[in-house]
């Protein structure tokens, strides 16, 4: 065996051409490689098909960017996003790339705090900091950023971010009445026009139908992965599954679905043979709440280092992204956009009021994943998830589900306290 140490590959010339802060980015690249080696490659009995996803991490700042630049050269749109409300089928129909931008690291927070208030969501700060510091190649590649109005911190930051990169804001309704769908549908039409404007081509019914199939297939592959994780012993670690859910936001969708399905074939074999990454007696934890953007592996790492296994993520980087599909049998553009909007209106983000569907969804996923406890994770200053947590907690109390709520940001300073809480939670489950 060749013992080549893992590294996130450097592409200094390309980064230079993207106007990045190369010396500084070089440090983040090395750090990501080290963190990944420690947290991921140290795991035992990983599925062999994780190799592709290791490679995707290795090429995260290089190979994948090159592919996107090739697409960009042909005049197709590259659209960056931080939210699962982006109608990515529209971008794909235009032959473009929809990509989740950097926003999961403490490293860029000081850049943001030079201008943004300190006491706002770490994801918003991290994201803004990546652009301000010129340390995210994705940010440097996009034609425009898709912003939305899911929270106050985001919607006001878009105004400031727009000074650095064009930012197209869509108004997300906050209720689910008929008039809200009307609003959202109009926003989808505007978004389509915006994308067509960037690429100078019309999005046809055929192209949109094809894009809907492509993204449905990607979501189906992730659904299949989730179903396999319900088996005890778990065939794949929560960390690896979370990584796949994160890569779903930057990989090419057709290839990604194919690779996830190949991995699922392997996991099916494991399930048949009762071959797991953890012992059958290992506590099974479901994580619910705010998204964990790459490389935010903090909570999963703490849970799994303590001997438990994460079996589900009820989160935007998780099931909220792929639980719903779009009806593929519509033949006119109006019908297509209408069913597309229906699908996006089903997303149970805490920005909606009321949002009791999410409480039911959490309980359903708890049962479906054969979990033994729920850990609610909320980013600091995320008011909607933090307050909605009350209803999730009450539902868990009523159902007798072991429950732990934590609020955290990207900094490592609370790791000791979180570790104590998580281990105490696992002691509760074990007894």
């Amino acid at each position: 065996m060749t013992a080549q140490p893992f590294e996130v590959k450097p592409y200094p010339e390309m980064w230079e051409s993207l106007d990045m802060d190369v010396p500084r980015f070089e440090k983040s690249r090395q750090m990501l490689g080290e963190v990944y080696t420690n947290m991921y490659l140290s795991q035992t009995n990983r599925p062999a098909k994780m190799q592709y996803f290791d490679d995707m991490v290795s090429e995260i700042f290089g190979g994948r960017i090159q592919e996107m630049l090739e697409v960009k050269k042909t005049g197709k749109p590259i659209v960056g996003t931080f939210c699962v409300y982006i109608p990515e089928e529209v971008v794909v129909a235009a032959g473009g790339v929809c990509v989740g931008l950097c926003g999961g690291s403490q490293g860029s927070v000081p850049d943001a705090e030079k201008i943004l208030p300190r006491n706002i969501c770490p994801m918003v700060k991290s994201a803004y900091g990546f652009k301000a510091g010129r340390i995210c190649p994705y940010f440097q590649t996009v034609d425009f950023v898709y912003g939305e109005t899911t929270c106050d911190a985001k919607k006001k930051t878009w105004e400031i971010l727009d000074r650095l990169v064009p930012t197209h804001v869509m108004e997300i309704p906050q209720m689910k009445n008929k008039r809200d769908k009307t609003l959202w549908l109009e926003e989808v039409h505007d978004f389509k026009a915006k994308v067509e404007d960037v690429c100078g081509e019309e999005i046809t019914t055929e192209k949109l139908a094809q894009a809907i199939r492509v993204i449905n297939n990607k979501r189906k592959a992730l659904q299949r992965l989730t179903a396999l994780r319900a088996h005890n012993p778990a065939p794949i670690s929560g960390k690896d599954a979370l990584l796949l859910e994160q890569i779903a936001f930057y990989d090419e969708p057709v290839r990604f679905a194919e690779k996830v399905n190949e991995l699922c074939d392997e996991l099916e074999e494991r399930v048949k043979n009762d071959d797991g990454v953890a012992d059958k007696s290992a506590p099974r934890v479901m994580v619910s709440g705010t998204p964990m953007a790459l490389p935010n592996w903090k909570v999963h790492n703490l849970i799994e280092t303590a001997g438990a296994v994460v079996v589900n993520e009820e989160s935007c980087i998780g099931t909220r992204y792929f639980k719903d599909l779009i009806d593929e049998n519509k033949s006119t553009m109006d019908e297509q956009l209408s069913v597309l909007t229906d699908r996006y209106m089903q997303i149970d983000c805490s920005c909606f009021t009321p949002n009791d569907d999410r409480v039911d969804q959490v309980l359903k996923e708890y049962r479906d994943s054969n979990a033994q406890g729920i850990l609610h994770y909320s980013l600091q200053f995320c008011h909607t998830y933090n307050i909605e947590e009350i209803k999730i907690r009450e539902a868990c109390e009523k159902e007798g589900i072991p429950y732990l709520s934590i609020e955290s940001d990207y900094s490592p300073e609370d790791v000791g306290q979180l570790q104590t809480r998580i281990e105490a939670f696992l002691e509760q489950i074990r007894e």
């Binding site: 000791g416 105490a424 002691e427 509760q428």
Partner: protein, 253 residues
């Protein structure tokens, strides 16, 4: 002999248990190599088994302890040793404060810990005492001599310290400020107890339980008696020792 070690943020506690009875204990301020220090503290004892708890539990496990449990579980076991019918434990240590609610059989039903800040902890009291020129012992005593209702608004240690300094400079008596600091810590603890829905009997452990002023204020606010173990700072270490005894047959003495 079972030995429990609690490697806390400020002190290391060792407790020994023979035939289910607390035999001896030691408490020391922790230094740079807590695991080495802890091992020295175990020194002359001849333990059958050692269980570690506290922030340094994994370090101790790596070097010598056979087993680890969290502070949460350790306090549940330790508090029940003193008060077999207790249902709630309030533990205020150097770096954190926690509230643990038990079920009838003594298992942890629910718990809450403070967030990543020193407000409402022993460290908060130490810093405030120092800025008023009191030792920690004098601090509680001075607070008890005051009957003035001065209010400290800030919960953050850094801001509260500057608030205390401006109070001092506006001529408010140190004893009155001391009372205000104790009141602010008490209301934070009462807030945590209410939030989790505490049940009687409430046991108060950790170094801060040695502060008579906090105990008195807690009882006044809660309108119930609060029970303090004889040696409140070793409840965690004792709980660890009890755990060490549980998972082993009794041939070792």
């Amino acid at each position: 002999m079972r030995v429990g070690i609690d490697l806390g943020s400020r002190t290391i506690k060792v407790a020994t248990l023979v035939d289910g009875v607390l035999q001896d204990f030691r408490v020391e301020e922790s230094g740079f190599e807590p695991h080495r220090q802890a091992l020295e503290m175990v020194g002359s004892y001849k333990p059958g088994k050692i269980t570690a708890t506290g922030y340094g539990r994994h370090l101790a496990h790596k070097h010598f302890a056979q087993d680890v449990i969290t502070e949460i579980k350790a306090h549940a076991l330790g508090a029940r040793h003193y008060y077999p019918d207790c249902m709630t434990i309030l533990d205020v240590g150097g770096q954190d404060c926690k509230v643990i609610v038990l079920n009838q059989s003594g298992k942890v039903a629910n718990f809450q810990m403070n967030d990543k800040c020193a407000a409402g902890t022993g460290r908060f009291l130490e810093i405030m005492a120092a800025s008023l020129g009191y030792t920690i012992k004098e601090f509680g005593e001075a607070a008890m001599t005051s009957h003035q209702d001065v209010v400290i608004n800030s919960m953050c240690t850094v801001f509260a310290e500057s608030e205390v300094i401006s109070m001092k400079n506006s001529g408010i008596k140190p004893a009155d400020i001391a009372r205000a600091v104790h009141l602010s810590v008490t209301s934070r603890l009462v807030g945590m107890l209410n939030r989790i829905g505490y049940k009687e009997k409430v046991v108060f452990s950790g170094g801060v339980a040695n502060n008579p002023c906090i105990v008195k204020m807690l009882e006044e606010r809660l309108q119930i008696p609060v029970f303090i173990p004889e040696t409140p700072d070793i409840v965690g270490a004792l709980g660890a020792a009890i755990h060490a005894g549980k998972n082993e047959n009794d041939t070792l003495s």
